[in-house]
């Protein structure tokens, strides 16, 4: 097949295919922006350990000790973006499947059909990466406005190295194309249609609970390990710190995401047993038939909730530190002294902003998943509506099916996130020679949960707009 033919076939398709290509490109553009921003922070010259650059108004960029965290946060932002891209790849899948079957019927080999899928994703990601790079340079130029004191709000005086930029622009489409190839590995594209190879039918087991437990135990051992080494006047080896300090939280996060499968299945069974309404029955059966759908859909959202709960605990810790500082100053001077130095709390505002952005992106992915789920079942839904089933019943079933696994999963994510953070902080907060017991900020933690559930409800609400169009009688026309 000539490259021009491949290009034509990869980009031929309906409006839904166009939307998928556009969303894939947008995801790639956002990912490119996040990675180039992280590379820019890395490009800030190191003047030496603990030596500030005195070039930027924001300490997160100016202090060498904080730049690592800033870079990591920017890179972590790519996670929900990747999740969004993954959801976008499933958008309009039935129409694409029919198109691919048509190519096979016209004589394309299975390899060529796969190549068309890979080319579509790769090209869309390449366009997105190009647009993201252009956007980065435009923003770099537009934001280069020093303040009156000569400090820059953003590191617009440095650029990542050209090879790093080129690698980013090339790697993003390559990774996207590779992911597309992996996604179709379980798919058989035949002339008569596209079939998924049989998936596991065994109900999920609660083994992710063991992962969560392991992660929490590992994280809670960080402080005792440091204390034990301190008692021997030495420091723990790096591998041990990395294993328990990073591996532990990752293990727990993975456990929560994988645990959604078991939660979905168990809640589906409960609904099926106790529910009597048709909407509940429909939701229950969908939950038990594909319990892993929840894990795929909510992974990014749950990761945001875990990190958010951890951040809320961290904020609570810094707030107590601040209170101790103020109390100390009051005791020293006999009156309240206001100090403008609320650096840690201001930093937490930025962290909250980053989590908020991630939450919005995760909700976007959820919206795509809900829309895709409705569109892929449009024939069955249209037949039900034609038989007199009110659309409200279908809408309620989608709401049940989404919220029933989300609520316990979010509660679990809040618990795990707050435990991960609070075990690493200990029971007591010390500052300015004073100490106070650490109190979990339950209100702030719960706010993250409510925000996540609200994002889900909003995504379902918008997703239901697809329902009317997908239940039109035209879906039942026999041709």
């Amino acid at each position: 097949m000539k490259p021009s033919t491949l290009l034509r076939l990869a980009l031929a398709g309906s409006r839904t295919d166009g939307l998928r290509v556009a969303l894939t490109a947008v995801s790639a553009a956002l990912g490119t922006l996040a990675i180039l921003s992280a590379l820019t922070v890395i490009a800030i010259p190191e003047l030496g350990e603990r030596i500030d650059n005195h070039r930027y108004s924001n300490a997160l960029l100016d202090e060498p000790g904080l730049r690592g965290g800033t870079t990591l946060t920017l890179l972590l932002l790519t996670m929900p973006i990747l999740a969004l891209a993954g959801q976008c790849a499933r958008l309009g899948a039935p129409a694409r499947d029919r198109r691919l079957a048509g190519f096979r019927l016209a004589g394309a080999t299975p390899g060529q059909a796969t190549l068309i899928v890979v080319a579509e994703t790769g090209l869309a990601a390449l366009i997105g990466a190009g647009a993201g790079t252009a956007g980065y340079f435009a923003a770099h130029s537009l934001l280069d406005r020093p303040r009156a004191d000569g400090l820059l709000p953003f590191p617009t005086d440095v650029l990542p190295s050209p090879p790093a930029i080129v690698v980013t622009v090339v790697a993003i489409p390559l990774v996207a194309a590779l992911a597309a190839a992996l996604l179709v590995r379980r798919v058989v594209i035949g002339p008569l249609g596209v079939f998924r190879r049989s998936r596991r039918t065994r109900p999920p087991l609660p083994w992710p609970g063991a992962l969560i437990l392991l992660g929490l135990v590992a994280t809670s051992s960080v402080l005792p390990i440091f204390r034990a080494y301190e008692a021997r006047q030495s420091v723990p080896p790096d591998f041990l710190v990395v294993t328990v300090g990073i591996g532990g939280p990752l293990c727990a996060i993975l456990g929560v995401i994988l645990g959604t499968g078991w939660i979905s299945h168990a809640s589906g069974r409960l609904l099926h047993r106790w529910g009597h309404r048709p909407s509940v029955l429909l939701a229950a059966r969908r939950l038990t038939t594909d319990p892993w759908q929840g894990g795929r859909t909510f992974a990014a959202l749950l990761a945001c909730v875990i990190v958010g709960a951890g951040a809320a605990c961290e904020r609570g810790y810094f707030q107590i530190m601040r209170d101790l500082e103020i109390a100390s100053m009051e005791a020293d001077t006999g009156r309240f002294v206001f100090s403008g130095d609320n650096f840690y709390l201001a930093t937490m505002n930025l962290v909250d902003l980053a989590i908020g952005v991630a939450l919005v992106i995760a909700a976007g992915g959820l919206l795509v998943a809900i829309g895709e789920g409705i569109v892929s079942r449009r024939r069955a839904y249209a037949a039900l509506v034609a038989s007199g089933v009110p659309r409200g019943v279908l809408a309620r079933s989608i709401l049940w099916q989404t919220l029933v696994p989300v609520v316990p999963s979010v509660v679990l994510a809040l618990f795990v996130g707050s435990r991960l953070a609070s075990t690493a902080m200990g029971d007591t907060v010390e500052n300015y020679g004073r100490s106070a017991p650490y109190v979990l900020p339950l209100g702030t933690v719960a706010t993250y949960g409510l925000l996540a559930v609200a994002a889900v409800v909003a995504a379902v609400g918008v997703g239901l707009l697809f329902l009317r169009g997908s239940t039109a009688v035209e879906e039942l026309r026999t041709g």
Binding site: H276, R277, P278, L281, L282, R285, R286, T288, T289, D290, R377, R379, A380, A383, L384, V385, A386, S387, G388, V389, P390, V393, V473, L476, R477, T478, G479
Partner: protein, 233 residues
């Protein structure tokens, strides 16, 4: 007694006319086949008669009720309680078992779950697929799925059954088996049937054939069964 009546029904999809003033009377207990070439407006006529679509002009009357003046909510309620609808494919909910699919209209009408399941299994039995009660559509053949869909369309004991190419996706043997069972059941129930088909064999199971051409009744009056004759009574 006439149960369904259409008078001068007109329906267009954008600039494309689908029906150009069709009039038809259907008597209670009658099986009527609507035939004609592809794109002649057969399915559109069925959808208008069933209240799925509202005609652009003309009247559709069910008993004493003018369906073309009713709201979508009222027509949906009528379809749920008085009509049964059967399509060519894709109508079973893939996640529900056969019994749950068949029980769904009863559950919507407020029947208890146990009673709904019992009725569903009885209907599956009448159509010869009782052993599939706990099987999901994905694990059934096309013919088995269509029997379950037929059971779902009939479980509320509707006065009128609308069937749009119900055997269009089946082989001839399975098709004849299904039609034989369907006709037997609807004759027992005295259910009126409006059957859209382009297949002469299928049309042969009807009491009467109405032929459409270019969105209007075929003036020649020669339908598919004029060539092949009738059977299946």
């Amino acid at each position: 007694m006439t149960i369904l009546r259409a008078r001068g029904v007109v329906k267009s999809y954008g600039p494309t006319p689908a029906l150009r003033g069709v009039s038809i009377d259907i008597a209670e207990g009658e099986i009527v086949a609507v035939t004609g070439p592809s794109g002649c407006g057969k399915s559109t006529l069925l959808h208008c008669l069933a209240g799925i679509l509202r005609p652009d002009a003309g009247e559709v009357t069910y008993g004493e009720h003018r369906l073309d003046t009713w709201s979508e909510r009222m027509r949906a309620r009528l379809r749920r309680t008085e009509f049964g609808v059967l399509f060519q494919f894709g109508q079973l909910v893939p996640e529900l078992t056969a019994a749950e699919n068949v029980a769904l209209p009863l559950l919507l009408a407020g029947t208890g779950r146990r009673e709904a399941r019992t009725a569903a299994v009885q209907w599956l039995d009448r159509l010869g697929v009782a052993e599939l009660a706990d099987t999901r559509p994905g694990e059934m053949s096309g013919g088995q799925q269509q029997r379950c869909a037929t059971a779902r369309a009939l479980v509320t004991e509707p006065r009128v059954l609308f069937a749009d190419e119900p055997t269009g996706a089946l082989d001839s043997r399975t098709s004849e088996q299904l039609l034989g069972q369907l006709v037997r059941v609807v004759r027992d129930q005295r259910t009126t049937v409006v059957l859209v088909t382009h297949d002469a064999t299928v049309a042969g199971y009807a009491d009467r054939e109405v032929s459409l051409r270019d969105g209007a009744l075929d003036p020649s009056g020669l339908g598919l069964t004029a060539v092949q004759g009738r059977h299946g009574r």
